[in-house]
């Protein structure tokens, strides 16, 4: 998390292992908390609330990509089917809200939704372990294939064909407004969704960060670096791999059940394969094996999409307004977004293969030692 100038001056182990080790970092983090919790949402609500929805979409991607980062960045298990587990979380939560006969006092206390988040996290974790089982035997490309199979089996088949047919026909569940309640807050406005997302992200990051500092995290990193060596050192690699799949699935479940509060509906299209790829793209863009990287990657992807979309809408309006004869072109403009996004990913990986967090690290290093900086090589 932080890079100290040469020499460490801590007097106790506890001080050395703290999250925020120096007063500078502490004040930086407090400033960040003030901005994210007070300044940004209030300003954004005052002037243009669409940025709130951008912000909670970023947080949703962070939650979802957290598990991908854990699997790929820390445990070395490449996954291309993470949307499946997010889907399990989303559907589990939505169905619990819709079909479980909750006792009235739970509903009144607004505990139904929090309970459903926990349950769906566990269910998604179990589902993830199920598809992580082949990781005991296969790795590399073959593992990628099984995680992809998780996507294809879960979303277009189990969920679309069976789960979404529960309670009558229909692909999408729409939740009646006012159903999602936490304690006494109804999650219905953008700003409340935003706060919920901030809260969940904070908790999940805390869990993940602490897991990584523990025995478990060290075992995962050992498996990532060389699984055979780890095994000879006595690490139970199958157990830890499955644990990684479980924890990643839990984060995905939280992400899924959070996002139904934002849309008040759930349908298989939220969980297409595209998103699995997108989340892997996010950690590649942000930086593999870095928690900050998830934020950078998510923000990058969501903002690029947002700006492309704004551009598309603008061009769309201009065409319709000023060149009605070209209005049929509006059907094409949208695809430029897709193509441009593809190119953005390609060029990012070609010219910035270490991700944004590496640039951030370089930048920080530069200022840390300014004016006597030298360009140190990264990892």
């Amino acid at each position: 998390m932080s890079y100290l100038p040469c020499g460490t001056y801590f007097e106790s182990y506890k001080a050395d292992q703290q999250w925020w080790r120096t007063p500078f970092i502490k004040s930086k983090m407090i400033l960040m908390i003030i901005v994210t919790v007070f300044l940004f949402p209030l300003l954004s609500e005052r002037y243009d609330s669409q940025w709130l929805s951008v912000a909670y979409t970023i947080n949703y991607y962070v939650l979802a990509a957290l598990g991908v980062q854990l699997l790929i960045g820390y445990c070395g298990q490449i996954t291309l089917g993470h949307a499946a587990f997010v889907a399990v979380g989303g559907y589990c939560s939505a169905m619990m809200m819709l079909f479980v006969p909750w006792p009235q006092f739970l509903l009144d206390a607004g505990l139904a939704y929090p309970i459903s988040i926990v349950v769906s996290a566990i269910l998604a974790g179990i589902w993830s372990v199920l598809f992580g089982l082949p990781s005991a035997r296969v790795k590399g490309f073959y593992l990628i294939m099984t995680t992809m199979a998780a996507q294809w089996i879960t979303v277009p088949f189990v969920i679309t064909q069976y789960v979404s047919q529960i309670g009558g026909r229909g692909q999408s569940f729409s939740l009646p407004p006012g159903l999602i309640k936490i304690l006494w807050w109804e999650i219905d406005t953008d700003i409340r969704i935003y706060y919920l997302s901030i809260f969940l992200v904070a908790i999940c990051i805390l869990i993940m960060g602490n897991l990584l500092r523990s025995k478990i995290g060290r075992a995962w990193i050992a498996i990532r670096d060389n699984d055979i060596a780890a095994e000879t050192m006595g690490v139970n690699i199958v157990g830890y791999k499955l644990l990684a799949f479980f924890v990643a699935g839990c984060f995905a479940g939280v992400a899924g059940s959070f996002y139904i509060s934002a849309l008040y509906a759930v349908s298989p299209e939220h969980y297409e394969w595209f998103y699995s790829l997108l989340w892997v793209g996010i950690i590649l863009i942000g930086g593999v094996g870095s928690i900050q990287g998830i934020f950078f990657g998510s923000a990058f992807v969501v903002l690029v999409f947002k700006f492309l979309e704004m551009g598309v809408l603008f061009i769309n309006d201009q065409l319709v307004e000023h060149y009605p004869a070209l209005a049929y072109m509006t059907t094409k403009v949208i695809f430029f977004r897709e193509a441009a996004f593809g190119l953005a990913i390609i060029f990012f990986l070609m010219y910035e293969p270490n991700g944004l967090s590496y640039r951030y690290w370089q930048l920080k290093n530069y200022f840390n030692l300014w004016p006597f900086s030298y360009t140190g090589k990264g990892h």
Binding site: R169, G170, S174, A265, A325, Y328
Partner: protein
């Protein structure tokens, strides 16, 4: 000085745009230009825009211009929800035009809460029960009624009469129905319950359903699966390109059954794609085909050339006419509500529900529409269905069925089914 003039100009521009804005009524339209149903969706979107242009050129709504905000959602529910929120909060539209069954049903709770009248191209019967979805309206006979009518028409017009089934009919064997549709698509599965119920009423056996995707290019194994059951009639519940695929594969594998299809599966495009395989297919049409001889059709045809001269006329079809039906019905309600000076949700809803024996432009048989009646208790606008068939490579009228007249005692109980 220059800056002051600029400032003045800017203020004037803002004021004038404000003043102009007060004179316009905003309609939001969510269309599919790029998704699974874009084969029929593009034409419809062009039609919506052209009809709005036509209305604006002919007096608008009590002199106010309609401003259309049309967005593509790619037949994806989440995208539709995002667009809806944008239209509600930023654009503040007075009325919403929607497209698919999935998104219309997903948004039904939202529009009800926000009191936003919406007219959907999804003619799902589920959206016709005001007790469940008070703010959802449709503009023609619903899918279930269409499906019932198609089956009745096949039973009476083909099974009872044709030489093809003579031997079987006289041997006393019951005919068998098999449904081809995408199980998971809300649109395709909407009328299935109704058509099976109708089959029971007509004493037709029902075989196992076959799942054909909306974007499918291969329905061989489904046709083979159906062939094992030896059906006499197939119901196709998808859109034109998928129905064409299934009909062609049925022809190539010599299935031998007759085909009936809902109105999204039956148009000029279908005719072009199927060729010889499409001969004899019976399809529903909720309005006249583009270029047919009915009142106001000339206006529609002329507007396609004014509005979108770059789109070849062969690519346009019945979906344009349908879009006109949808927009004129909405505009009619907006006119009524605006006359009373209350352009809000409940007032527009009341105006919609006072629709009685209405046809577009208040001209009988305009655009080939049936007479539409919408009441606060029943949002099914019509029970009369026109059926067309393909004969010698041309679409010709086959039959007209009034479902309510056939089953007067059952009609009310079918609401919302």
């Amino acid at each position: 000085m220059a800056r002051r003039i600029l400032l003045l100009g800017l203020t004037l521009a803002i004021i004038s745009s404000w003043a102009f804005a007060a004179d316009e009524i905003k309609i939001g339209s969510i269309n599919d230009l790029t998704g699974a149903t874009s084969d029929v969706g593009k034409d419809a979107a062009l039609g919506v825009r052209e009809c709005v242009d036509y209305l604006n050129a002919n007096g608008g709504i009590n002199g106010k211009k309609i401003k259309l905000i049309l967005n593509d959602y790619g037949y994806r529910v989440p995208e539709a929800i995002t667009i809806y929120k944008r239209m509600r909060d930023r654009d503040k539209v007075a009325m919403l035009l929607q497209w698919g069954t999935g998104d219309t049903e997903a948004l039904a709770a939202h529009v009800n809460k926000d009191k936003m009248v919406t007219i959907s191209d999804s003619l799902s019967a589920k959206l016709c029960d005001p007790k469940e979805t008070p703010y959802n309206f449709i503009y023609a006979s619903d899918y279930s009624t269409d499906a019932r009518a198609a089956l009745i028409s096949w039973y009476e017009g083909v099974w009872k009469k044709s030489d093809k089934w003579k031997a079987m009919r006289e041997s006393g064997k019951k005919p068998k129905l098999v449904c081809f549709y995408q199980f998971s698509a809300p649109y395709s599965s909407a009328p299935i319950e109704a058509i099976k119920d109708q089959a029971k009423l007509l004493d037709i056996e029902v075989g196992r359903d076959q799942d054909v995707s909306l974007v499918s290019l291969d329905a061989k194994s489904q046709v083979l699966g159906a062939k094992a059951e030896d059906p006499q009639v197939i119901w196709h519940g998808n859109t034109a390109m998928s129905v064409a695929t299934a009909v062609k594969d049925a022809y190539a594998l010599k299935l031998g059954a007759d085909h009936i299809t809902n109105h999204w599966g039956f148009d000029k495009n279908f005719l072009r794609m199927t060729g010889a395989a499409g001969e004899g297919v019976i399809g529903v049409a909720i309005c006249a085909f583009l270029g047919m001889d009915v009142p106001y059709m000339d206006k529609v045809v002329a507007q396609t050339k004014i509005g979108n001269p770059n789109v070849p006329f062969e690519k346009r079809g019945i979906r344009t006419v349908q879009a006109w039906l949808k927009v004129t019905l909405g505009a009619n309600a907006l006119t009524k509500a605006d006359k009373e000076g209350k352009l809000n949700g409940p007032a527009i809803k009341a105006a919609m529900e006072s629709t009685k024996d209405w046809t577009p432009f208040n001209t009988p048989n305009a655009l080939g529409s049936q007479k539409l009646t919408i009441t606060p208790k029943d949002h099914r606008p019509s029970s009369v269905v026109n059926l067309y068939t393909i004969k010698d490579g041309k679409i010709v009228l086959f039959d007209t069925v009034d479902v309510r007249k056939k089953y007067p005692d059952k009609w009310d109980s079918w609401l919302g089914m």
